[in-house]
Amino acid sequence: MTVETIEPKTEAPASLGGRKKRYLLLEAGIVIALALVLLLVIPPILNGIGQTVRVNQLGRYMSLAIVALGIDLIWGYTGLLSLGHGIFFALGGYALAMYLQLQLPTGQIPEFFTLYGVNQLPLFWQPFYSFPFTLVAIVVVPTIVAGLIGYLVFRNRIRGVYFSILTQAALIVFFNFFNGQQKLINGTNGLKTDTSLLFGIQVSDPKIQTMFYALSILFLMGAYALCRWLTSGRMGRMLVAIRDDEPRVRFSGYNPTWYKVFVFAVSAALAGISGALYTVQSGIITPKAMDVAFSIEMVIWVAVGGRGSLLGAILGALVVNFAKTLLSEQFPAFWLFFQGALFLLVVTVLPSGLLGWMRTDGILLLRSLLGRRPALITYPSLETDPEVEYERKNLGNRESDS
């Protein structure tokens, strides 16, 4: 709530229109170039040095970056800390996993049902025979759930920590529901996807996995573009206004409720997509995706990268997840210590994340390391003032002055 973000210029004068467009084109070019590098250059290199497993990890973490974008939208821009994005993540994952579980000869139902003595496919499984329905459900089910929760909560102007607590409680409720219903969705064991078939090929097959890797990149790009578009226009300004002073927005005649419901639903949709992509790449979805710890972890990715900047969310998700993998491979017990320290450090020392630090202190540090004095930031009119110029020339900038 107290983060200062450098927002794109709100009201660009006509003369700057062309420049803005050029910047936008440049940004799109960079994003596409990065995506191409990720798609065409990185996998062969990693495969070449015998780190094939890292490609899969990269794909998974990029799908996690999509949910991080969603969290950035709701937390970084709108100031609502949602601790319940695991719900939407898992709903997306379960939707796809259910479709994959149903890729069986006609008349058969998934194996686990018979363990619990269920002979008839439960009603809500039926639509998941259809592929288009599944694709829609991955996005729409989380959106509807988020819209509903959001409407009920925001309508009452519940915000701040109350909102966080309520989302967390909702998370626990969903966790309990999925965890306890052995007969409906295989409870604690979750749904395995890696042995099921997609278009007649096993999901764990490298070819399909490569496709999902590519899809993760594509969807990450798409999500980035969507968020960029949302946050740079009127909508984005509205969100920041809600974050910075919601009562004032209300007093100005706007109704923040619908903006908040909308952005919550969008971020839930992103979480759903992310969950589906993550599920097929990791081979299983269990109620653990709705763990309290996991949902808070998502928040820390955004916090580490730098909230209020979309790039920060992506960066944070990738950096923290790789750090987690590397650290827990080496010292399994230390990851929790490290993660805890990360929470403390980011909140106290780096409140605007890595990217925010780079933008302010990082640049200065870099300049001073390169031996360049930091440029004086003051009023430009002073800089050109002849009197000041004279003083600077003749009296110098003595240390004692500062």
């Binding site: 107290t2 306890g180 808070i296």
Partner: protein, 384 residues
Amino acid sequence: MFEGLLEPLFGGLSIASVLLLSALGLAIVFGLMGVINMAHGELMMLGAYTTFVVQNALKKTAFADLYIFLALIAAFIVTALLGLLLERGVVRYLYGRPLETLLATWGVSLILQQFVRSVSWQLVAGIVLFCLFFFGSLWAIDRRADLARWRNGLATLMFVISSGIAITVSNILGATYKLAATKPWFGTQGVDVTAPKWLRSGLIVGTYQLPYTRLFIIVLTIACVLGIYWFLNQTAWGLRIRAVTQNREMSSCLGIPTKTVDALTFAIGSGLAGIAGCAVSLLGSVSPNTGQAYIVDTFMVVVVGGVGKLVGSIVAATAIGLVNFVISSNAFKPLVSFSADLTAIFDFFATSSMAKVLVFALIVVFLQFRPAGLFPQKGRTVDA
């Protein structure tokens, strides 16, 4: 009929008492400082472990049967000190930023969990050495005015040196004493606290047995609530705490040391968490994850009750406890037996985890009517 009512009533009250006990500390801290302490559950867990330690220490002595009272005091002191440390070390830098506080205390809770899992003599030695060298040198640097301009650089240097010393020495310790130094004290598995002999049976009413441990917890909760009520209403510091809760700026202007009040309140709230942990340890085995199980229920009590009112927490905890028990034990089944559909619905929710689902739904419905809880704070500053 009386006996039929007794069971749900007692069951609900016993859930409510645990809820209230664990929510009490949180509610006070939240009401005063607007700080959500996500490490509250872990403080409870530490209270439970303190009980375990006290129990083992007194096993052979004459006090073996009365260890629980000593454990209550010890748990209060240990967690209150830790709470004080937490407030001084982390939380005080984050006042006015509730969401950041939430994340930071979550970080603390992760560290505490892992600490309990892997604490051993080796780790303790390492931490003590590090603190001695690092903070000792910081103290020395701060006393010398001529070193002030290099303070940051020196601090970084000392950080590296002291962590180096700590790691080396603790590794040498681990290598020489082997298992005696490296074996975790508690491990990842849960530990069991056995209730003292006089708490093991139950009070028999008709055909139903009321376990003494549950009764003990109910009594303990009542005692704690009365104690807090007395403290807040009859003592000078209680008056100060109430004043700061109502209007921080004005209290500060009138000479109340708000920082001391904050630290004191945080310590008391944490101490109450320790007592709650001690009570919880009587109910089941204690593991590093114990705290997590209570944290959200506890928050719900605070949300439903409204902030800053003791009576709100009491009513909310009782209501949530009763509803929870009634749903999970399916006590109303005879009442809805006329309709097969209703019976099926009630059967569906008749487990403790599904009861939570329904309770949450009810809470969300309730919040539609009273968004600020049962006993909302009144005043001009509430909806800024």
